[in-house]
């Protein structure tokens, strides 16, 4: 009876611990995800890789040989994180610049295995979703209400960050539009100038040419 209980509990833990979303990639394929985040925001990435097993036609729950290379780049294309992890991993980083953060994953397998499929379970949590409230409640001994207020504060914080980021993006957008506007204006002037110069040069050149040939 005891062993059954243990088994069921283990199953429960395993199922609950499983990450929800998954997708398939070829072993040598590279898959990138983009998270647009404000600055000073925590991003939590959880993943688990399973290798396709042709013998059983399913996916092996644990593939010790497979490692995942995870690379995170910020909006300036600067590498924040680049490491090889095992087949299961938990990565978290804090953004220092606002913008699109690109998270790329590819397995460290050699071409020898290429053609086989990988199943990648992935979970990405951003901002206040990445906070583990159970942990906080336990550590800081907060009451239920205090914990709720804590969550509200985190959320408001996130909203404020997002708004700051929005302001920043709006500024960039405006700069782009203004730049387009002025470029169009200057170019139309430049085009007129080029046309006039070209016309004058053509006239002069042909005139001197005809005079030299004594045609005029």
């Amino acid at each position: 009876m005891n062993s059954l209980l243990l088994k069921v509990l283990l199953l429960f833990c395993a199922l609950n611990g499983a990450l929800g979303l998954y997708f398939h990639i070829a072993e040598t394929e590279r898959k990138c995800f983009i998270e647009e985040v404000p600055d000073e925001t925590t991003v939590l990435v959880n993943y688990k890789v399973e290798l396709y097993d042709p013998r059983s036609g399913g996916f092996m729950p644990s593939s010790p040989g497979i490692g995942m290379h995870v690379e995170v780049r910020d909006s300036d294309d600067k590498v924040i994180l680049s490491r090889v992890y095992s087949s299961e991993g938990k990565i978290s980083f804090i953004s220092h610049t606002p913008g699109e953060h690109i998270i790329c994953m590819y397995s460290n397998s050699t071409a020898w295995f290429s053609g086989s499929q990988l199943r990648v379970h992935l979970d990405i949590q951003v901002g206040e979703h990445a906070i583990d409230y159970a942990n906080i409640a336990q550590k800081e001994k907060l009451t239920e209400l205090q914990l709720r207020i804590r969550q509200l504060l985190d959320q408001v914080d996130q909203v404020t960050k997002e708004q700051n980021y929005q302001r920043y993006r709006e500024e960039r957008f405006r700069h782009t539009s203004e730049s387009t506007n002025s470029r169009v204006l200057w170019w139309s002037l430049a085009q007129t100038g080029v046309l006039v110069c070209m016309g004058i040069w053509q006239m002069k050149h042909l005139k001197s040419f005809f005079e030299a040939k004594k045609l005029v």
């Binding site: 009876m1 059954l4 069921v8 509990l9 199953l11 429960f12 199922l15 609950n16 990450l19 929800g20 979303l21 998954y22 398939h24 898959k31 990138c32 995800f33 983009i34 998270e35 647009e36 992935l122 979970d123 990405i124 409230y133 159970a134 409640a137 239920e144 209400l145 914990l147 709720r148 207020i149 969550q151 509200l152 959320q155 909203v159 997002e162 708004q163 980021y165 929005q166 993006r169 709006e170 960039r172 957008f173 782009t176 539009s177 730049s179 387009t180 470029r183 169009v184 430049a190 085009q191 080029v194 046309l195 070209m198 053509q202 050149h205 042909l206 040419f209 005809f210 040939k213 045609l215």
Partner: protein, 210 residues
């Protein structure tokens, strides 16, 4: 008997505890189809939201399939939409994004796949006592803030759509103006050469005939 009881008890816990929500943006290559799978339990509500934020005509084909591989929702060449459904059976649901119709433009697609309701805070909602006013109002604030965050995400995506288009336009104006200036100079020089050619002295051999 005990086994059954135990099993059902565990499954009840499992039902309550099973919650998942993930949002991300990915790059959909031209002529490609990307699928994402998620397990949904029976009678659990789930929602799929997507938005194309850059690339081509900002359109993508979307289909959502249930565990029996039946299509329960499909959109062709859509820019953004959201779909909510209640799972009819437990199993793997697949959300597929296809760019097969486009052979040269790749797309950036934002996806938000939510399964189940938001997980309760530990300690809260576990006891069945009536909530105090403080508790219920804090819960209301929490829900409103969630809505605000969702609205912000939506807004951010629309904004990035506009911004990417504007940046693209800026670049294209720049490239086109350089190209056209180059063309004008070339055509100008070419015209002169042609006109000169009209009046070029004929070779002596051609004069002899006259």
């Amino acid at each position: 008997m005990t086994k059954k009881l135990l099993n059902s008890a565990v499954f009840i816990i499992f039902f309550v505890g099973f919650v998942n929500s993930v949002e991300f943006t990915f790059d959909l290559a031209d002529n490609a189809e990307d699928c994402f799978y998620e397990e949904v339990r029976k009678n659990q509500s789930a929602s799929l939201e997507f938005q194309v934020s850059a690339g081509g005509q900002l359109d993508v084909d979307v289909s959502l399939k249930d565990p029996q591989n039946r299509v329960i929702y499909t959109q062709e060449r859509a820019t953004f939409d959201s779909h909510q459904f209640v799972a009819e059976s437990t199993g793997i649901y697949a959300a597929c994004f296809s760019n097969k119709f486009s052979s040269f433009s790749h797309k950036l697609v934002y996806v938000d796949f939510q399964v189940g309701e938001e997980a309760a805070l530990p300690g809260i909602d576990e006891h069945a006592t009536v909530l105090t006013q403080m508790e219920s109002s804090s819960q209301t604030i929490h829900k409103s803030l969630n809505q605000i965050l969702d609205a912000q995400t939506h807004h951010r995506l629309r904004e990035s759509q506009g911004r990417k288009q504007a940046e693209n336009l800026n670049e294209r104006v720049m490239e086109w103006s350089l190209f056209e200036t180059f063309c004008m100079c070339l055509i100008g020089a070419f015209q002169v050469i042609i006109v000169r050619n009209f009046f070029r002295e004929r070779k002596p051999s051609q004069y002899r005939r006259l």
